[in-house]
């Protein structure tokens, strides 16, 4: 039976004792001290001088290593088990990519080095640009965005620049977003100054074309959409969707969060999308780091290249160079060239799979997910709203279970933690009641998939026989159910170990 490690590990500050240290930084040489003369601290203006020592824990190296290693054991991860998290594509992260990234020729290059000293990485980025453009069916990529949401924001900025260049930005203030969209889509659009117009889903779980045609018009800046959508359903009317947005003068944005379903099978560019982002930390298997780093390269069609951020990587036939000659560029969206460490891993991933392999990734992900879906529907008590045909993910509803037993989707998710699985995404998309969004990436074995199916079956059974067991779950994790209400309550909110009394 699964039991997560539990160490009762104190806070690192609680391990602190005066005089201990965990690292001795290198000291200046004698000559450096001598030449600098007298007291180097005299060089610091009094007004800026810290009074005393900085307040940090005093711990030895073994204690620090043991502390964080113990904490790491109290943490679930892809290397430990399956994450059936819909829309998150938590697939296995190949070790060769890690090995490749631990290279001083990568780690110890500075972003402002002379181009001639960084020809290797520039060549790699140039080639990656070509690969990703080919994979998405776009003309050119910017590798600068460091996350999916950063890619979306860049996409929205490009839309602004595009409409501005046509003198239409003043009245094109609306971004259309389906009601099933990820929260980042409306948030990115609003951040870029657009008003969000929500278009509803139809009874098949797809964008309601009539409703879309009603809202698309002279005020439309664009549409942001994923395909397959967050229900895992392929928007088969995508060409008509594209047509109505383009006819209205808007641009079509592809959110790459669900790209794993169609890798090598369909290209956003061929579906009529003008701007695309990919989540390399999803589809291209770079590790998610507990929340980051990621990378969200953005691809555009030919005539939008002139708005891409500076610099792009160019090649003059002899050497690679940073191309700043993009007259209508939106500028920069991050200080340097993007999350290079992540880009290198993704490049290695593409090489490892090649054209057939990438296609097999999508096909196997869809196969795995449909297998789980078929088995759960056959044996479980969950319902599948909308049509049956799903790609890399599906959204179940635990509504019936909830009505019959009082057990919620959240409780089922928490109970799954007890069995050494991660919970599916719960309560998203918001258009499904008691939603449980499940994705079974291609890197999961049949045995893992069967365990996942068994978890749904068992949870459904327990809801009837022992609902309290679910409502009080989890029982086998490092800690039991957490009081998240208390955690965010103004009176008990604790954001740091020396918790100050907050003032307005």
């Amino acid at each position: 039976m699964f039991h997560q490690a539990k160490w009762d590990e104190p806070l690192i500050i609680e391990r602190s004792a005066s005089g201990k240290r965990g690292h001795n930084p290198a000291r200046p040489s004698d000559i450096e001290w001598k030449i600098t003369g007298s007291d180097p601290w005299n060089n610091v203006p009094k007004a800026l001088l810290r009074n005393g020592l900085p307040p940090l824990p005093e711990v030895s190296e073994p204690e620090v290593v043991r502390h964080y290693t113990r904490l790491s054991q109290e943490n679930f991860a892809v290397d430990l088990g399956i994450y059936p998290l819909g829309s998150c594509t938590m697939k296995y992260n190949p070790k060769v990519s890690e090995a490749i990234a631990q290279n001083p020729k990568l780690e110890k290059i500075h972003p402002e080095q002379d181009e001639l000293t960084v020809q290797g990485i520039l060549a790699l980025l140039h080639r990656l640009d070509e690969f990703l453009a080919e994979i998405t069916g776009m003309s050119r990529m910017s590798l600068q965005p460091v996350a999916g949401a950063a890619g979306e924001y860049l996409g929205a900025l490009i839309m602004r620049a595009y409409h501005k260049s046509k003198g239409e930005l003043e009245h094109r203030r609306e971004m259309i977003v389906p009601d099933s969209a990820h929260g980042t889509n409306p948030a990115s659009a609003a951040m870029a100054g657009f008003n969000v117009v929500v278009v509803p889903s139809n009874s098949e779980g797809m964008v309601d074309l009539d409703a879309l045609r009603k809202v698309a018009g002279p005020r439309t800046a664009g549409l942001m959409i994923t395909n397959p959508n967050t229900l895992g359903i392929f928007e088969k009317n995508v060409l008509q969707i594209a047509e109505s947005v383009h006819d209205a003068g808007g641009l079509l944005y592809y959110d790459g969060a669900n790209f794993n379903a169609i890798l090598g099978k369909v290209r956003p560019g061929d579906m009529g999308f003008d701007i695309v982002h990919l989540n390399l930390h999803k589809t291209f298997a770079t590790p998610h780091g507990g929340g980051g780093p990621g990378a969200g390269p953005v691809g555009v069609r030919k005539d939008l290249e002139r708005f891409l951020p500076v610099p792009l990587v160019g090649f003059d036939g002899k050497k690679y160079f940073f191309d700043y000659d993009i007259p209508h560029s939106v500028g920069k969206i991050t200080a340097f060239h993007g999350n290079i460490g992540v880009l290198v891993r993704a490049y290695a991933y593409i090489l490892s799979l090649g054209p057939e392999g990438l296609k097999a990734v999508a096909e196997t992900a869809v196969l795995n997910t449909n297998y789980v879906l078929a088995k759960v529907l056959e044996r479980g008590k969950f319902e599948l709203p909308f049509s049956r045909r799903r790609k890399h993910e599906f959204v179940l509803s635990a509504k019936k279970i909830n009505e019959q037993t009082g057990v919620r989707a959240l409780d089922i998710g928490k109970r799954m933690l007890d069995w050494g699985l991660h919970s599916p995404t719960v309560y998203f998309p918001q258009i499904v009641e008691e939603a449980m969004m499940v994705e079974a990436p291609e890197t999961e074995s049949l045995r893992d998939l069967d365990e996942l199916v068994e978890a749904f079956v068992r949870a459904g059974r327990e809801a009837e026989t022992d609902p309290e067991r679910l409502r009080s779950a989890p029982h086998h994790t490092s800690v039991g159910r957490i009081d998240e209400v208390k955690a965010s309550h103004p009176k008990t909110l604790t954001l740091r170990w020396n918790n100050p009394k907050l003032s307005g």
Partner: protein, 463 residues
């Protein structure tokens, strides 16, 4: 159906697939894609390269990267936001724990306590170092942290003007502009003093008005200057109802006053130097913190809180105040940020725990000494003005080279051919400084490396 068997795909092999398809009730994989209109399908193999063995993949990328010359091959005197510090082996070992590295955002708190506690410790240490009430669990990098801070200040004050130093890194300014412009936020710059390089407080005071949401200052500045005037900026701001945003260098807080102590309302930083290698500029670590409940409600990104289990018996950690965030608040969220740089926040927590009070103070002192050594050494070269600005410097300094236009570019090229990478040229971005470059020295620059820079510069300028 592709019969492509691959080490990353456990369900390789025709029999497994056949069995799975039977369970689904589909005749083939193609059937699972049959709803996709034929006209959009990709009916040819993608034009991407493939290397069939892991060994080939690894050596292929290694051969490409071998074309780079890194700071391990030559002294590199570049800083300007990304710094080459020594990263303790223990930090690397902790970051290599795949329980951290391959985990997801800790939405399921009970199974993610290790990550949550580590991030809480990061927040606590940075809050203590800066004297802020709250620090979030990371943003992308220092430049987007500035953009978020500017938007946050405008939301909190209901004003639309942000003042930034003329000496801001141009890349940072460009990012800030992209965060500001769509929100209708106006950016104005205040000049720097031509002698000291510090902020021109007369110019600043004349520009802070009742429309000003915030003033941004950096310690040390882009020019590496420790400008004592910065401590007066918060009160100048507060007099007009504006906020003070201060950008800090994490290592420098080993010796410098926490911005909270002189009244700063929001702090930001680039945390790459205390968490990860340079990696050509990314991934980095965006740090943001603030004071007061009003500003905390405006913070972007994830916040971790300490609480208890439902039965009240055990300490536990979870994400808090999520109603600020995009997955709940959608277009009304404080930011669109979702994926962040959590792994390096753990790296920073480990780094700061290892160095401790003594280590961070000593590291600050070492860099202070080395900076002054480098300045004094370079200042002995005829035709070189080092530092260009009078006054105290830390880690970076501007050097002016007498000579015709192009002298600096020629020097840097020659230095490179002798195995030294010079400073960042300021010629294009700060033409008023003439043939000037920004040099950076940290604890990794040996006396020999600095001396080599000096000898080569002297020789090359003389020839």
């Amino acid at each position: 159906m592709a019969t492509f068997d691959h080490p990353f795909l456990p369900n390789s092999g025709a029999p497994i697939r056949k069995m799975m398809l039977e369970a689904i009730g589909a005749a083939s994989i193609d059937e699972l894609y049959s709803d996709i209109p034929t006209e959009v399908r990709t009916n040819r193999p993608l034009k991407v390269d493939w290397l069939p063995s892991e060994q080939e993949v690894k050596s292929h990328v290694e051969r490409m990267l071998a074309e780079n010359k890194s700071a391990a091959d030559m002294p590199v005197f570049l800083g300007a936001g990304i710094y080459n510090h020594y990263l303790p082996a223990a930090v690397k070992a902790i970051l290599a724990r795949t329980e951290f590295q391959t985990s997801y955002t800790p939405y399921q708190a009970e199974i993610s306590q290790g990550l949550l506690q580590s991030l809480f410790e990061f927040q606590s240490m940075i809050a203590d170092l800066t004297q802020m009430d709250a620090v979030n669990s990371s943003l992308y990098d220092g430049s987007t942290a500035l953009g978020e801070a500017a938007r946050m200040a405008c939301r909190a004050t209901g004003r639309k003007k942000i003042l930034v130093p003329q000496s801001l890194h141009p890349a940072k300014f460009s990012v800030l502009k992209n965060y500001a412009e769509p929100a209708g936020i106006g950016l104005e710059t205040f000049t720097y003093d031509k002698e000291t390089g510090g902020l021109n407080s007369g110019d600043l005071q004349s520009k802070v008005d009742r429309d000003t949401a915030a003033v941004y200052c950096e310690v040390p500045s882009f020019f590496g200057i420790l400008d004592p005037e910065v401590v007066n900026v918060p009160s100048i701001c507060h007099l007009k109802g504006a906020l003070s945003i201060v950008g800090f260098d994490p290592v420098s807080l080993g010796g410098l006053k926490p911005p909270g102590e002189y009244g700063s309302d929001i702090v930001i930083a680039e945390g790459q130097s205390i968490s990860t290698e340079m990696n050509f500029g990314g991934p980095a670590l965006g740090i943001i913190g603030c004071r007061g409940e009003n500003l905390i409600r405006q913070l972007p990104g994830r916040l971790i809180g300490m609480t208890t289990t439902l039965d009240g018996k055990e300490r536990a950690f979870s994400m808090v105040l999520q109603t600020r965030e995009q997955h709940i608040r959608r277009e009304k969220a404080t930011s669109n940020i979702c994926t962040n740089e959590a792994l390096f926040a753990i790296g920073a927590a480990a780094y700061l725990s290892l160095l401790g009070p003594q280590g961070l103070r000593k590291l600050f002192e070492s860099i202070l000494v080395k900076t002054n050594y480098a300045i004094k050494t370079l200042s002995e070269i005829p035709g070189v003005l080092a530092p260009r600005f009078i006054g105290p410097h830390y880690q970076e300094f501007v050097v002016f080279f007498k000579g015709a236009r192009g002298a600096l570019a020629r020097l840097n090229k020659s230095l490179l051919s002798h195995g030294v990478h010079g400073g960042k040229s300021l010629v294009k971005d700060f033409p008023e400084l003439g043939e000037s470059a920004l040099f950076c020295v940290t604890e990794v620059h040996s006396t020999e490396a600095i001396d080599k820079l000096r000898l080569l510069t002297e020789k090359l300028l003389g020839s």
